[in-house]
Symmetry: C2
Subunit: 484 residues, 2 copies
């Protein structure tokens, strides 16, 4: 999500209206002034999904299934793939004799994602029929004929040697980058990894310089292996941030504990400035006006792979905590947690994944901004994606019908009021748009952004980070004093 | 569709079983030996679509709608966009004052396709929401929440000047390559044409050398214009083949006239050899065994743009007519007609379009082979698509549920029996696979293919074509005798 929240993209969505909870849908729309528009996941039926659902209709028969009252996980039941305590030793012993598949760090992040059910109903790395549906249709069809959204291929690549070692074995053991067997993949299927086609259909370009492609896909090999995943324990990173890594199940419990009657998710991979905060606080206000009694914000920074010039996770988490300490966001009605997925920077394709995963975590409202999951074109001087496409594609995506999409209004720095405010086109010249690049330049050069752009304690976190970066760059330029 | 019909791709589909019409679906599968497998459009429910439908459930209220008893057009009603006779003069006069959009030959082919309802329920060139759904989901959602398949973007490109001339006009006139106003586009919407993204998401590659891209997309400009199409009359080509160009409406009438109780469509862009014929005749036999009384073959060569080294349409039509004259295919139960679409060579994405358009023409069975709509990679020594993906993607595609997919068995030249036959792996060495390239080489060099590969009269058509090609090449190499 871009730091820059800008421009006039709400206008074309004004056929979506604001709907108070429990109201009769046909009578209200024209009577309620709306500061932003609510978009149900598909625009032909804008009201059908805005009604508060206390009794979801898709409940599974299993009493073990984790459910919140707000929104059902995709497939009706949250996937959880951690082996029960009592079976761990047996399973570990069994895995010792299986062919081994070595995971990269990003593979491990996907193991984390799948094992906790963020990708429900996906139960492992994709087999070919799931891969093809994801690639061509951005969705999977379930046995009952309904669709769940599945826009990113969640796949595991292996090389020729590994394929040969696996031979006709049905199951393989998964080995972490640190060398530990962390679980297994069962009833495996191996199929060709056409990297060019995967990249073209996922990113809409095959240009060099796509971060996830360069980091992960290009170095990967020519086969994909799919199967049913089992892990011996929840994936931990031991980086001091694991307490932030709530699983979808834990989040649903937390929402229930807080007696949330609406959960609105905000995906981000950047520091929170006051424009973001304005938007999140305004969303809560609007939900209250709709009749919700206790809307809860899920502030949900992405924790997996990000590109080199993004602010690292630990710095972002510190910045986020300052924003809450400072009262810019209300800790009583905000849950900060880490979304463990790696980042693709795949724009309209990826934003669907970001939204879908939050359904599984129990969020029934999803905030979407300008150019979600976008970036500059790696080789051309333009945005890689049309900044409006993410929101449009999201609003039409198969399988996201039950999620309420909240496209957000433009916030910018109001130079008269000296604070972040919703952009007022009638006095456009008084607004200043501060891009992510501009913000990083401020922090890097030690220059302060305008007052009211970000809470000072949060800003300090960034300044310190960039200072430390410069120090390490400077010291890296010193001649080495210890020869090899 | 490749001339080469080959390999073992039926094996993984053997969970799809052969189902006699009107049988109880659960009891039959294991009892019936099947030479090929019937695949319903989605493999989770293989039997649901194999039941003969005499009373379709999606009938529209309009009594004017064209319907056959076999399968409903997408959206329930066949789109027809030819202005009624009584309004033509009025509409023509009106169009004179509209801004003009000049069409290329391929644009005109699409006008033809849209105006006759092959792309039903599409009513014109795509607006952006349709374009995005096509690009990302290969389908369009209808107002009732159901999906129709729509895998290829059907769009019209314009340049900056044309966009400027259109300004805020709601309607534009469409001008044929010959300079005639042939219709109009109403309530237009102009949006950006990101060619790189369109190509990547449609073809799964951005490699140079894709025929449709080189011919049409690369030279096109930076804007797309969508809107509701009207044409003043049915598109005609005056090439002596217009009588072959039956519209979906005409085909449906023809099927009803012939009292067809099943229609199986065979898409092709190549000459018909005896392997194809074997397969088509075998399909009919199987349908008869299933209980159908009068299965009709729609032999449906593609008539729009094809790449330079494909056999031209007029030659193919002559070859096809010889095959029928010769009795290789039975004229009584075969309808030969031209499918007016241009060819994309976009493999799994395009085969969905080929199948979907035949639904609209009234076919309820669709034959799919190895590597449908595929070609060699333009810059690498491999197939552009996995030869099995077309069939797999087709069987899972949203919106094709009501169509019965028939993946075909491998035919090759049996050197012992001296005829095209279904490949028998137990005596693999006795079979000869004759590729399209090989066939063209035979024809070009005047060498005869093995007896029984193709009926002699059909073969002669090809030989003559390649002779004429060589003659014109030779004469092109002669020094020009008339100076300018």
């Amino acid at each position: 999500m871009s730091l820059l929240i800008r421009s006039s993209y709400v206008s074309h969505l004004n056929h979506f209206q604001f709907l108070p909870r429990n109201s009769k849908s046909s009578s209200f729309p024209d009577q309620i002034p709306s500061r932003f528009s609510f978009v149900s996941s598909f625009n032909h039926n804008p009201f059908s999904n805005l009604v508060y659902k206390r009794n979801p209709t898709m409940q599974s028969a299993s009493s073990m299934a984790v459910k919140s009252s707000l929104i059902d996980p995709d497939g009706g039941e949250l996937v959880e793939l951690v082996v029960p305590e009592s079976q761990i030793e047996l399973k570990k012993a069994e895995s010792e004799s299986m062919p081994k598949v070595k995971l990269t760090q990003i593979d491990l992040e996907w193991v984390h994602v799948i094992s906790e059910g963020w990708a429900s109903p996906l139960k492992g790395f994709m087999r070919e029929d799931e891969y093809l549906q994801s690639l061509h249709f951005n969705s999977l069809r379930l046995k009952d004929g309904s669709f769940v959204n599945m826009s990113l291929p969640i796949v595991l690549a292996i090389d020729d040697d590994t394929k040969e070692q696996i031979g006709s074995s049905r199951n393989v053991a998964l080995v972490s980058p640190q060398g530990d067997i962390i679980g297994s993949l069962r009833s495996v299927e191996i199929y060709k990894h056409n990297k060019e086609e995967r990249i073209a259909r996922t990113w809409g370009t095959t240009s060099p310089g796509l971060p996830y492609v360069e980091e992960y896909i290009n170095p990967s090999e020519n086969w994909l292996i799919g199967g049913d995943l089992e892990v011996f324990q929840t994936i931990k990173y031991n980086d001091g941030l694991d307490h932030y890594r709530l699983s979808p199940k834990q989040l649903r419990v937390e929402f229930d504990n807080r007696k949330a009657d609406a959960v609105f998710a905000f995906q981000l991979r950047n520091p929170v400035h006051n424009g973001h905060a304005l938007l999140m606080n305004d969303t809560r206000k609007r939900l209250l006006e709709m009749g919700y009694k206790n809307p809860v914000l899920l502030l949900h920074p992405l924790g997996g792979f990000t590109k080199a010039d993004d602010v690292p996770l630990d710095v972002r988490m510190e910045q986020h905590s300052k924003v809450l300490e400072d009262g810019v966001l209300d800790p009583e009605t905000t849950i900060v947690s880490i979304f463990p997925s790696p980042m693709h920077y795949a724009g309209p394709t990826e934003v669907q994944w970001h939204a879908k995963a939050r359904i599984n975590a129990g969020a029934n409202f999803y905030i979407v901004g300008r150019d979600p999951a976008g970036m500059g074109h790696p080789t051309e001087k333009r945005d890689l994606y049309d900044p409006d496409h993410g929101k449009k594609v999201l609003s039409m995506a198969p399988g996201l019908e039950k999620l309420n999409i909240l496209p957000f209004r433009v916030a910018a720095y109001d130079t008269v009021e000296k604070k972040m405010a919703f952009f007022d086109p009638s006095r456009a010249k008084e607004f200043l748009f501060i891009s992510g690049t501009k913000m990083r330049t401020y922090a890097r050069t030690g220059e302060n952004p305008p007052d009211g752009f970000m809470c000072p304690s949060g800003w300090n976190v960034l300044v310190k980070y960039y200072e430390s970066l410069q120090e390490s760059e400077t010291s890296a330029k010193q001649p080495a004093v210890v020869a090899a």
